[in-house]
Each structure stands twice: as C-alpha cells, then as structure tokens.
C-alpha cells in the first residue's frame, strides 16, 4: 500500500514529506533494476508515454526515455521544432490532439511556468512536469534529495547550499521545497542580481557569499549559469563570474573536509565550476545522472498506480 494518490507530478511545493519519501523509497528499489543484465521489468507494459519537450534538453529527456523503457512503457518523443507547434498550433490544441491518441502519461517541458498545471486540469492522462520556465523541476529536486540521502544516509538535519542564478532557476525552487520538507537547512547565494527578493518565503536563508556559506555546508549544489536566459545583463562577463563566484579548488578548501558538490548539469566548465572540482572526489554529478533514471522510474510507477485508481473510481461512479 502506498501513500501516493496523485494523478500528476506538477511540483514539489504541493507534496508533503511522506509523498516525497514514498518516491525516494520507491526509487531505491528501482535503482537495482538498472544494475541487472536485463535492465527491464514489465510493469508498464502497454502504457504509452509522450515526452513533449518545448525546450531543448538532452539529459532530462534521455533520462525519462530510459526510465520509460526500463519499465516497458512505449514512449514517443515530440519536440517543439519540427512539430505542429512551429506551425502555430496552441499548446492546448497540441495536447488535445495527443490526448485523442490516448497516452497514459505526458512528460512536459515548457518555457512558461504553469503549463503542466494547465494540461493536468484539462487532460485525463497523468502529467509529469519536466521543467516549466523558472517555476519547478520536481524530478531534478527528487534525484538531488535521493543522491544526498544515498550518500549521507539522511537529509534531515543537513545544511545544503544552493549557489548561482537562483532567480532563473526552477531547480533551486524545487530543491528548496524538497530539502525543507525533508528537514534540511537551506542556504542560497549568488551574485546579488541573481537572488530574487522574497526567496526567504520558501524557507531558504540568503547567505552573503560563497565564502561565508561554504564552512557551514554538508552539500553544495552549484547551479548552471544559464547564458541563454540572461542576455548578459546580470553579470558583466563570464570571466568575471568565474573569478568572483566560480567554485574552484581554493574556494572548495574553505568547506568542511566531507563537503559534497552537486550540479544539475549541463556544466559550464571553468565558469560556475572548475573542471578539477567537477571531476574530483567530492563531486556527485554523475551519481545524480544515474539516480535520475531511478527517480523517474519511481514517479512513472507511482503515477500509473494512482491513475489506475482514479479511472477505476470514475468507472464505478459512471456505473452508479
């Protein structure tokens, strides 16, 4: 029996701690499947998953696709370029047309915040948010929490820093929610222009700088500088960012001996993180990628169960 009853995974904000833990526990089970010689179980056989990506993505899309295939679902990839979206169709029309083909789950990435909520309300199938603008990226936060818990045995009581472009980061927002719900202390930092006012309202504390933050941390999540989102307005140059805010070996020495470093990827080597840190022994970056598949398998499995429950209930109601 599970505590999961949601049709959709739209964000971490609306989840409670028990739901987050259910996903992490299920992911721990799923992880073993990826270590087998035959990395596939039949549980989602006959289910159709549409990966609908309106923003470029390699890691997240491939991770979802591999997760779907390991559970034996049939997956279809739709990207904005080369689809009817580029011919002027609205999101809702695209979704209605996809729905007419009866998918069981739609995985949506979209540049506008709130689009997964819109689809989830209008469509009977399950919707997974794979990143909506600067709002949320729930599976990334879940895989980060999973990676921390796997390495350190717990999340509760830890201090986790998130450093970089907090303002544009859906990863930061989802991570603050997830880590706070699991009982961690969250410090955020970055260039002052990249700290959104009111971020304390999510339960995070704003640290004055990376140097001040580092000695307090068990884990540091370095965010990618999203060059495509800035237009170069928030900091003068890449070199200046690397010098003032980049995580190099010297800065890393300010942290505790056991400090772990994470990054949601893709990394800008030599910009927000130095190559020797990204490839070093403290780095969990590739563990994060491995765990991403397990976490997405867990979400697909749990949503399928809840959706099945919902359709069964609808059928009963319809018959009555």
């Amino acid at each position: 029996m599970t505590v999961w009853s949601r049709k959709d995974l739209l964000g971490i904000e609306e989840l409670d701690a028990a739901e987050v833990l259910t996903i992490l526990d299920t992911a721990a089970t799923m992880k073993e499947i990826s270590t087998r010689e035959i990395k596939k179980v039949p549980v989602l056989r006959g289910k159709t998953v549409v990966n609908l990506f309106f923003e470029s993505s390699t890691r997240t899309r491939v991770s979802f696709e591999i997760a779907e295939k390991r559970l034996s679902a049939d997956s279809v990839n739709v990207s904005a370029s080369g689809s009817s979206v580029s011919k002027g169709e609205t999101l809702l029309d695209t979704a209605r047309n996809l729905e007419a083909m009866r998918p069981d789950i739609i995985v949506l990435r979209h540049p506008s915040p709130g689009t997964p909520q819109l689809l989830a309300r209008r469509l009977p199938c399950s919707v997974i948010n794979a990143g909506d603008g600067a709002h949320e990226h729930p599976t990334q936060a879940l895989l980060d929490a999973f990676t921390i818990r796997e390495r350190l045995g717990r999340v509760e009581g830890l201090t986790v820093g998130i450093f970089g472009d907090i303002a544009h980061s859906r990863v930061a927002r989802s991570n603050i929610h997830a880590l706070r719900k699991l009982g961690a202390r969250v410090l955020v930092g970055g260039p002052p222009t990249m700290i959104p006012p009111g971020i304390e309202g999510l339960g995070a504390e704003v640290a004055p700088g990376l140097e001040e933050m580092l000695p307090l941390l068990d884990v540091l999540i370095v965010l990618r500088i999203q060059l495509e989102r800035q237009g170069g307005l928030l900091f003068p140059s890449a070199r200046e960012y690397a010098t003032l805010f980049g995580l190099g070996r010297e800065r890393l020495c300010l942290g505790r001996p056991g400090l772990l470093v994470m990054h949601p990827g893709p990394i800008n080597r030599g910009l927000e993180i130095a190559p020797e840190v990204a490839d070093g022994t403290r780095s969990l970056i590739l563990d994060q990628v491995t765990n991403g598949v397990a976490v997405r398998m867990a979400v697909l499995y749990l949503l399928t169960g809840a959706h099945r429950g919902a359709t069964a209930a609808d059928a009963v109601r319809g018959a009555a």
Binding site: T2, M30, E37, T304
Partner: protein, 200 residues
C-alpha cells in the same frame, strides 16, 4: 421478550465454521516442516554444490534464510540466499485493491547454470510464482528452478506445482491462510481464518 437467535445451523457431517482461527502449524510444526524440506532439497539435488535459494518477499525471504541455516547445520556448507520482490512482474496489478509499494530485489550472485530453489510461504493461485519465474529469467538462465513452500492451500489458477511442501492444507477460497514468522510478526505459526485478511 426477545430471544437472541444469533447462531448458525451446522449441517450434519460438516465441521463447525472456524470463526476465530484454526491453528495449522505451531512453532515446532514450522521448524519440523522446514527441517524436512531442507533434507528433501539435499536429497533431490544430491548435495548443495549447485543450489541457491531465492525467497519471495515478504515472508519467503525469511523462510529462505532459515532453510539456509538448517542446510548449513545438516551439511556444513552454506548456500547463497537472494530476495525477490515480484510486484513489477505481476499480472494482476491492474486488479489489485492497492497499488503496492515495491521492495528491493537482491540477488547478489549469478544464477547462471545453478539450481534455484524459490521459497514462498503460501502457494495459492500460483500467480506470484509465475511472476517470480519471469523475473528469474531476467537474471540469467538457471539449470533448474524448484519451488519450496511452507503451505500449499490449493486453488491453483496456473499449471504450477511445488517440489517441496511443508504442509498441504485444503481450504475454501473465502478462507485466508495467515503465516506468522518471528522475524516479521514476533512468533511462528500458521492459522486459517474465515474470510478476513489478505487472500492468501
């Protein structure tokens, strides 16, 4: 005055309905059954050189570990023990009342060319064993798969039979067989109960 007519008529020749619970095996009974199964495993396979045990969650895993203990006492050599959760291979998930929480499968050894003895607490419809057979095939190609169960309660829906049986217990479908083990329930024993409980 109202008379309380709250009793059930019992047709001649039938046993009284077990409203509470009828004990089938007590602690000694469970131990004796397992010791006998251990001897039968040895006899059938002429030793342990190729044998591995895989217990099905959530009670077969404990039974498998106990069997391994008895096998060690008798033969002096140890057998690898694995644990399997067959949830992801079930054919009846779509009909389950609750979407089950999956637990970890741990088979930290190769089953290639080995004799795998699957261990479960109760053999009923045979559907968990079918799922376990499918799952095992994804781990390799064993030389043979055998099945050991503590209780065979009948009502098979698939052509599956056990090689080693602790006790055959004829049951009605509406009855449930409840196995308790020290590791999970604090004590050892097997009871039949009317209706209630999981349909095992």
């Amino acid at each position: 005055m109202r008379v309380n007519w709250d009793f059930k008529l019992i047709p001649r020749g039938e046993k009284a309905p077990v409203n509470a619970k009828a004990e089938i095996l007590d602690e000694t009974g469970v131990r004796r059954a397992l010791v006998r199964i251990a001897h039968e495993i040895l006899e059938k396979n002429q030793g342990l050189s190729e044998v591995v045990l895989v217990g099905l969650r959530s009670r077969g895993d404990h039974l498998a570990r106990r069997l391994a203990g008895f096998l060690h006492e008798i033969e002096g050599s140890s057998v690898p023990v694995g644990v399997m959760d067959v949830t992801l291979y079930r054919d009846d998930l779509a009909h389950a009342k609750h979407w089950p929480q999956v637990q970890r499968t741990e088979i930290p050894f190769s089953i290639e060319g080995r004799i795998v003895v699957l261990v479960d607490d109760v053999l009923f419809t045979g559907r968990s064993v079918r799922a376990a057979l499918d799952s095992l095939m994804d781990f390799g190609r064993p030389r043979a798969i055998q099945l050991a169960v503590l209780i065979d309660r009948g009502h098979r829906e698939l052509p599956i039979r056990a090689d080693f049986v602790g006790k055959n217990v004829p049951t009605a479908r509406r009855e449930s067989v409840q196995v308790s083990l020290r590791e999970t329930d604090g004590n050892d024993g097997v009871v039949i109960a009317e209706g209630a409980g999981a349909g095992r």
